[in-house]
Symmetry: C3
Subunit: 343 residues, 3 copies
Amino acid sequence: MPDARFFTRRGPFTIGSLAAIIGAKVGQGSDPDHLVMDVAPLDKAGPEDLSFLDNMKYVGAFEVSAAGACVIGKRDGLRAPEGMALLVADEPYKAYALAAQAFYPEPVSTGNVHPTAHVDPSAIIGPDCDIAAGVVIEAGARLGARCSIGANAVVGRNVEIGSDTHIGMCTSLSHCQIGDRVRLHPGVRVGQDGFGFAPDPRGHVKVPQLGRVIIGNDVEIGANSTVDRGSGPDTVIGDGTWIDNLVQIGHNVRMGRGCIMAGQAGISGSTHVGDFVAIGGQVGLAGHLKIGSGARIGAKSGVMNDVPAGESWFGIPAMPLKFFFRRHATLTKLSERKAKPNE
Amino acid sequence: MPDARFFTRRGPFTIGSLAAIIGAKVGQGSDPDHLVMDVAPLDKAGPEDLSFLDNMKYVGAFEVSAAGACVIGKRDGLRAPEGMALLVADEPYKAYALAAQAFYPEPVSTGNVHPTAHVDPSAIIGPDCDIAAGVVIEAGARLGARCSIGANAVVGRNVEIGSDTHIGMCTSLSHCQIGDRVRLHPGVRVGQDGFGFAPDPRGHVKVPQLGRVIIGNDVEIGANSTVDRGSGPDTVIGDGTWIDNLVQIGHNVRMGRGCIMAGQAGISGSTHVGDFVAIGGQVGLAGHLKIGSGARIGAKSGVMNDVPAGESWFGIPAMPLKFFFRRHATLTKLSERKAKPNE
Amino acid sequence: MPDARFFTRRGPFTIGSLAAIIGAKVGQGSDPDHLVMDVAPLDKAGPEDLSFLDNMKYVGAFEVSAAGACVIGKRDGLRAPEGMALLVADEPYKAYALAAQAFYPEPVSTGNVHPTAHVDPSAIIGPDCDIAAGVVIEAGARLGARCSIGANAVVGRNVEIGSDTHIGMCTSLSHCQIGDRVRLHPGVRVGQDGFGFAPDPRGHVKVPQLGRVIIGNDVEIGANSTVDRGSGPDTVIGDGTWIDNLVQIGHNVRMGRGCIMAGQAGISGSTHVGDFVAIGGQVGLAGHLKIGSGARIGAKSGVMNDVPAGESWFGIPAMPLKFFFRRHATLTKLSERKAKPNE
């Protein structure tokens, strides 16, 4: 059960009301009035908890689970423990996520501006925003409704933020426009100068970075990630794109909608990434590339060429996955042969 | 045209005055009194804008550009659109950068110390420094003239900073000495303990880190990068070296002048890097190495050996570029052969 | 000699008293009353300094060193310069580290709470804690004795910290419990949401992250590193584990005791790492793996499989070190053959 010092639980909910909330059906024989108090994984759940089965790898844990209720997919042949109430959903993990959100909703902003926060008189703060201790909101900044700004964060001059957006502790924003329902985790840096200069042995000459960062709606950016502003064009992160911790986004990068980018990956300047692209951890994309929609880049790859839509690439330099594995297998076979004394 | 909320434009300038500012010549037949209002890329520029042509890949865009003026190199055979004023420079990109600086100069510090900043009475602040809201300047720190310190940044005890240096929002400095005209972007960490200990199964024993960080003049360090102080010797970053975001510089590292280091690269403890070395994104240099002046390390390389001056290396482990590509081609050929059923 | 602006020296110490402090023996013929003023490396040390010889690579420097005293191992045949006092220890580097700590002990907290710090009235601060300028300590947080919290750091709601723990400047903590004698360097992010969601083309669905971060005793975490809280289970870092800068620790990761993790490495969600594991710089571990105790992962490796206890792995994908080098040698041989025209 989550630590009550950090998490506030709602509920209880009946199976029937949860079914409506998460878009599932109450399983045949399950009592819609069955009460659920909390959520928990299969191996930890007790009779008052809701759990889920998404991956058939865990069917053994499911069959012996003490969970009082469980979200499952439309799969036949499952042998549920006796007395377990079932919720049947097309996408059990997503349905479980929605149930967990019902028990543990995001905190609601209450319009509390801490006395130690500094809000410039020319800034415009929408209704019901929470501004924590030590926050600095500079001249001309605009926040929509119900935003929350974490302690010691900075919202720079003329930055514009939509509604229901959360800015983490110690995060800093400048030269940017941010959408609704965005979540920037602690220590994120948005809008600073891109890395643009004319190399010169007498001293590299700075190219003024005259663009902005535009972040769409429903974007999440992980702790200590950095997003540089454009050099003339803007740097753009599309709606619903999720970025993990310690990621670098260079100037003029454009990412489409619904992309996923794992920790410590980086995108060099002026590369354009389509929609629903999945980028693994510690991947690097060189500059001025086009990554087609739906492409998948394996962890640790170094991409130096355009990647067509829908393809899976891997390696340094990155190549289609099947080429990588063919090369890998070839070298394995040749190395084993070398190792045998008789050949 | 840059967003006026974030960028303040100077000008207009005549072609003649710009030529003097950027070290170019007014092209034959161009009117030195031709007025320019702004800068823009070739495909966006209009009759009032100055653009540039540096890479012959864009000669098509140049020939149809609506730019009123353009910086070009000393190349014959270019067919400029009718009416376009020309500025001819040896290094067109550098000349354009200087023009863009003329239109969009760095903000000038005005000596504004925000009332919510905390400046220790024993700190010495030079004339005309801007100290933003929430800044902490600890005892004994010294700033030269015309520095600007971004909101919620921290200048630690006895830290010394030269003149015309900009410290980004939420950056923290300790145990260091920083030169003139340095630009540290938001979230940079300078001067914390290096990673030094004597390993011991009963508890690793900390080795006190007794050196400093010395940063030369005209250095730029990107957002959320980290520079550890030396263990006894100092960690040194030479004049005019430019470092991108999320870079790690270990203790006792010495970098020379004019180096370029791209995002998410890292240098392990006690490695010495010469002058004008170029280090690609996500490169790692092992500890106690010597990287000769003018060396170039390709993105994502892992360098485990000294690199002679002027050489280009690549790979994990890194090797001279030609060896890497020979190996790569060999494996390509062998893999393709394996893939053919008749061999 | 360390810069007195940043380091306060204790001492002097006699060789005899140092021997007791560091667990060494005074060498035969050395005067236990010989006074030492400071510590320094062999090539910098003078007659008043203590140095050390740990690696026989430096025996030449030892033989000509001007150091007045030196810690050495129990090795015969060393020709010490005349007049050099010797301290003989089983582990000379560790003994030297302890001597350096004696000369340069960690600053002692004096119970100074800066007037610009904001400490919520419901927070409980143990005796003799130092709280620097601009710090925010939120409601319900608890600190043990003698902690120091650096300028502009944030200790979030209900966070619990043990005694003698140091939190760096601009660091932020939430949803976590931290042990005794822990050192978090500047800009560390602990306890934010893990990267958990159910992918959905209509918008990824957030999975509430309901776990915590539990950090043991004697842990060190480097600047700008990030540790996400668990999704249900906790993220756990064991006693005495040392983590370098810009490291990413994903949700539900468990690390054992005494691990070493170098800069810019990352561990994906739900991977479990045993005790005394050594992880090189820029290594990536995929999710849901088991890394056995005492394993060693070479720098820049990408680990996609479980690693048995005690093994050394390297490469992308990572494999036992000997396999990597066999493959490497095979490809070297084949490439050289290709390069010769007569074959």
